[in-house]
Assembly symmetry: D2
Homo-oligomer: 219 residues x 4
């Protein structure tokens, strides 16, 4: 955005900028401030949904910025996705997105630790998934990632490198607000290890291989 | 079971023992061995589902032991609950139950860390829940516990003291199989802190108060 | 002690029992109670000092029990070691010993994490040790374990299996007093992983191999 | 350094820049590159030693950069401190400094967790320190910080805010090299909590108050 040949040069009064990638709340605030100086404005609108989600138009936007701009850009978002939830002022959409990836991190860690300890005690992945999905803490996410783990299919929907980037942004955002996140901090080191072991470009469910190695299993 | 005036004295050939509480896999194996010496047998069948679940017959059993005994005791279980999933031999039902509570632990930690960091950045609990529940990692569990947190209603469905007991059993069971569980280990200390702060008999969602205190908020 | 052919049968009035191994405070209290019923008494006196310490009489005892028994058994302890510090009533010697091994755990983790990250940035182990030992946080322990790591000499002074046993006792003792130990909890999972990877009988400094693997290095 | 009215404008050929503060290895490398373009050069030389150390000339420098510049600036450093250890090329002095603060972090966490759990079991701080200092893992650091904790003297030698800054730089530096640091990651969240609770400008040993609160003690 700020690069010498970047977007800012093209900005005119009334211009609207829709930021869909996951960046830090600080970054989106800076972009907005720069745009406003030129009579333009921005809406941050990070998305959730896998690659497949993008293909099939099932993306969910979580937006931050002026509500009027949210309304204004609704048609644009609805062309790409199915839902847009207004989270509040600039920065809060990004924060929400990071919180979402924090949920994903702990849910996936729960699944993978559970799968490794279960297997060592003779419990099949299918049994674990059957019980989890019949219980009150069921989630489509466990079915989605559990199936990939079962097939040992690491093809990327969401790369470990990217999740670690977001975990780090989340911890920085939490530090700025002085909130300890002991669960996420522990889990980030596991994903960090997965990167170190060469799985950074694989799907985040490949973190199970790191936990298998930590448990002394070949993988 | 083994107490002097315990169950063992009453055991006759053909007796069937249904263990529904959450104990360590080692314990259920020991009970089974003792019963078999007397021509009896056991089925472990820990349950999931809240107090309300018990009232309304929506309990889920996860069983371990001989499959024949599972079938035999099916009518008994169906009188109390709605589903019974056979997990494998004795010990595997208990292990499954502990894995389930491990899932709960990390999901609740994810929710509570997310709520505290979100609030400090001005994100309403309702917004977080709306986004989470519209996403691929939605779960009825987040709605259930999120609602209680929103009302700051700590009345007990599952007490912190009990969850910590199960987290400890899980870590012991994992240690026996030499499986590190870095996520659960970190999270257990948070719940441990909640006990220390006097919330042991409150519902597990009261752990959010411990995270609030860690973040310097009065609560 | 309590076994059928155990010590208790030989106990007479005035008998003194010196418990030198590392057990839980609960255990030593139980032993003492049983002995007192017979007019005997016990002193717990776990030791610190490596195998070499035992050979050369440089063991340090940390005792718990009646001070009179501590004085009474002083000559026995001084025949084996060089110092005995009275820690307080029965259980407090064991607690002190566990706290000592907790110190060792975090200091060794500090050294090993530091060595692995330093090496990846081109810092020699010798340089790290030179700086640490010239600083205010120097310790003979870093020289001792650093030298072994430098030679990749994993011959056992204190086995990983034993340290994990004590870390677990420490966490149980802390849980009984409702004290969270987030540092130790995280570190125990690393040592747990070392056991899983087959290093349980090697010296505790072999944990560096587990951290190397976590960092994607062959080892 | 790079500010508009900064040092760079004054740089002439042959100029030598001595960077004594603790910054990231990336930063010192950037400074060096800029200086070299002008025929000048830099040496990074972060220090260890408390405020008192600075007063009394007992500071230790750990340097990174060209060895010739290290030799050239030796007299300057010896005017302020007592020792300078050459760590290697630019960036390695900073890395060493961060590793040193990582040691401090885990040693202080060990001490504070030990003090809190010991006290709950009736073990006096003085007893813990006596045993630790008589053992192989003794360190002047434990005496220094233990004394302050005993007097509940939180006057700042090294502020929690600054240590957290360095812990964060260490984790970033480790992430760049793909090294997980599970111990430090857990400990940083505890210090983060201390900041949140208002202890950021107090000495790092004030983190014991955070652990006391986590253990349900008033403080």
């Amino acid at each position: 955005v700020f690069a010498e040949d970047g977007l800012m040069h093209a900005v005119r009064k009334g211009f609207r900028y829709l930021e869909c990638s996951t960046v830090s709340p600080e970054t989106t605030k800076r972009v907005q401030a720069a745009l406003r100086e030129k009579g333009a404005d921005a809406l941050e609108a990070p998305v959730t949904g896998s690659k497949n989600g993008a293909d099939q138009g099932t993306l969910l936007f979580m937006t931050g910025g002026p509500r009027a701009v949210h309304e204004e850009l609704m048609p644009v978002m609805m062309a790409m996705g199915t839902k847009a939830i207004y989270c509040g002022e600039m920065g809060q959409g990004s924060t929400m997105k990071l919180i979402g990836n924090h949920f994903i991190s702990l849910m996936l860690e729960a699944l993978c630790e559970g799968v490794v300890v279960g297997r060592k005690h003779g419990l099949a992945l299918e049994t674990i998934l059957e019980v989890v999905q019949a219980s009150g803490f069921a989630s489509p996410y466990f079915a989605f990632k559990g199936a990939a783990i079962g097939k040992r299919d690491w093809s990327e929907h969401f790369a470990i490198d990217l999740l670690v980037k977001d975990q780090t942004l989340m911890l920085e955002t939490a530090a700025a607000a002085r909130v300890p996140m002991p669960g996420l901090a522990a889990v980030r080191e596991v994903f960090q290890s997965a990167r170190a072991q060469g799985f950074g470009r694989e799907d985040i469910c490949a973190v199970v291989k790191t936990l298998e190695r930590a448990a002394g299993e070949p993988s």
